[in-house]
Amino acid sequence: MKNLECFFRPRSLAIVGASDQAMRPGNILINNLVRFNYQGKIYPVNPKSKPILGLKTYSTISEIPGEIDLVFSLIGIEGNLGLIEECSRKGVKGLVVAAGGYSDGGNEGREKEKKLVETAHKYGMRIIGPNTVGYSNPYNNFILSMIDTKEPLKGRASFICQTGQFATNIIEWFMSFGKTGISQCIDLGNKADIDDSDVLEYLSEDPNTSAVGIYTETIKNARRFMDTASHISAKKPIVVFKPGRTKEGAMMARSHTGALVSDEKIINAAIEQAGLVRAYRVDEFLDMMRLFARGVRIKGNRVGIVTNTGAGAIMSIDTMEKYGLELAELAEETKNALIPIYASYQEPGNPVDIGPAINIKGAEESFKIALRAVDNDPGVDCILLISIAFHSNCFFVPDFGYIGAICKSLKKPVIASITGSETAYLSIYELLEPAGVLTYPGPEAATTGIGGGYQYTLGQKRTKGKSFFEK
């Protein structure tokens, strides 16, 4: 039952509860499949409907002539047990259940959910959901979602979510930070059957996935999760974003997906022991995921800052403490190398504030000397480049095409913070990202990315690539 191919690479797919009316979930789902050019066979099922988007519609599953790998159920709770019986006669292997009101709907719903899974397992069928909107994989043009989905960019980050709309929402959110794409985004809903560990195992084999972000309100089969996740994170960093740290937040999580809630301190300990990275806020979650999606690794906690704004450096330093990052102590040689770009009244040090130097040496030359000096310092693990950006050219802001080329020649990872309008930010982003400089819209965001990278390194030192129970 480990093979999830029927869910993620189905050759044929039936949608039960398909609709010919635009804006209905049963219509949007098919529209997404057609629009993004799904390669398999699509069988809409609805006893009353005319053809949908030019596809022949069937009144029942049994009526479908060919084999069916996967069934997406959009019908209400009452119909799903009967549907499973019908699917079993067609040899269906996987079922995605959208309906809510199972374990997210109190004790009675919990019983129904148990029965749903038991019935499916009786026929060797597996379930994603219930209470899911579906999932997306832009690499094989498979967008199986009841939300009208913006075309996802292909990237290296995969997301596993426990909540419907947010799963789709996160794709757009992630993309809007810059141009970071996704490899897969999977909403597991209530995780009644297939859970995070199953999907992690599947994603560990996915060549397009470099890192996995998990939005979870509850961790099911927690010990298996710790074991699986700690093992996989040796190769693919895993960030766990679990909200609900407050009592009220935890109660909301419980009613939302019927989640059993563990003590916050236990969850934190477990995440740390498994060598995973924890995020507490959604912006933090995405900032960290962007770093991992680019394959950047932060090997130590000593940050060298090169900045044309002292204010930006202070904001960054304030954020560093939370992740155990420190300002690198610069070597004497580095300080000497910085003298030419320091004013007589300044003492060279970290952060390297080149603001005053720019007036004399110009922005490009000042940044170049500073970046190279900091890169050569053996006491620096990574470089944080901070710059302001304006709507028009400003002598304080260097030509980032040139700076990008300098960064590319450096040995250490460079992470940039660019503050300014969206247009100004994106124009610099376009120049820095191709040069391998991960670019964030602000000092806190950039530092958070670095912080996540360092937390990952710490976690790996702890687990040494072994899984939780191997230790």
Partner: protein, 223 residues
């Protein structure tokens, strides 16, 4: 373990302090030297063996809040006081298996708590924190999922806000962190190896000199 199996057979959901400590001792967790007695003759033998000063405690699986019920007499220094205390405790107990625990009086100002809880998701988890009345008031505690490595044990001690209590403070020796870590690891091991153990509460663990000793303990079972 035999003590656990026997208690379950008898339908008990808790072990007495004496039995609980036997479970701990079987895992090499340092516990107070103590003898369980039923009459004055045994009491006298026990006081001689353990030596004054000592502590007398009412002991039964049915009793959990000993202090509130007047079932603990501390700093007993001679045979007369021991006999009076013994009789008072026996009179205050109303359970079926009344007995008195004659226990060495461990000196130490620092009280810690070490426990085991079985989380619905994560299974056996080890708890560490400030003990005695501070456990309830400050809730300054940390957790790790069992099994624990030494590193986990050391880190979880450092996780509590009051971790400096373990250092050499106010003329007291620094607590033996290796010995404490060992207890934390062993408690996790008890949880992993004994599915019927639902909870363990060792409170207080006293730091005597630099060495931790389990002074009171409660093992809760899952029938």
């Amino acid at each position: 373990m035999k003590i656990i199996e026997k208690a379950i057979k008898e339908g008990k959901t808790t072990l007495s302090e004496y039995e609980s400590k036997q479970v701990l001792a079987a895992y090499q967790i340092p516990v107070t030297r103590e003898i369980l007695v039923n009459d004055v003759k045994d009491l006298m033998n026990a006081t001689q063996e353990i030596g004054y000063p000592l502590v007398l405690k009412g002991c039964s699986a049915e009793i959990t809040h000993k202090t509130e019920k007047g079932l603990i007499k501390v700093d007993i220094r001679n045979d007369d006081d021991a006999t009076v205390a013994f009789k008072e405790i026996m009179a205050n107990m109303n359970g079926n298996e009344n007995a008195v625990l004659v226990q060495e009086m461990v000196k130490g100002q620092r009280e810690l708590v070490i426990g085991l809880t079985r989380d619905a998701q994560f299974g056996p988890c080890v708890m560490f924190g400030l003990g005695g009345i501070f456990t309830e008031i400050l809730k300054d505690i940390s957790f790790r999922v069992a099994p624990l490595e030494k590193r986990d044990a050391l880190e979880m001690m450092h996780d509590i806000k009051g971790h400096r209590i373990l250092e050499a403070v106010r003329g007291m020796e620094a607590a033996d962190l290796d010995a404490l870590a060992d207890i934390l690891i062993k408690v996790g091991q008890i949880g992993l190896e004994n599915e019927k153990v639902k909870e363990i509460d060792i409170n207080p663990v006293l730091i005597s000199g630099s060495k931790p000793v389990a002074v009171d303990a409660l093992v809760v079972l899952d029938l």
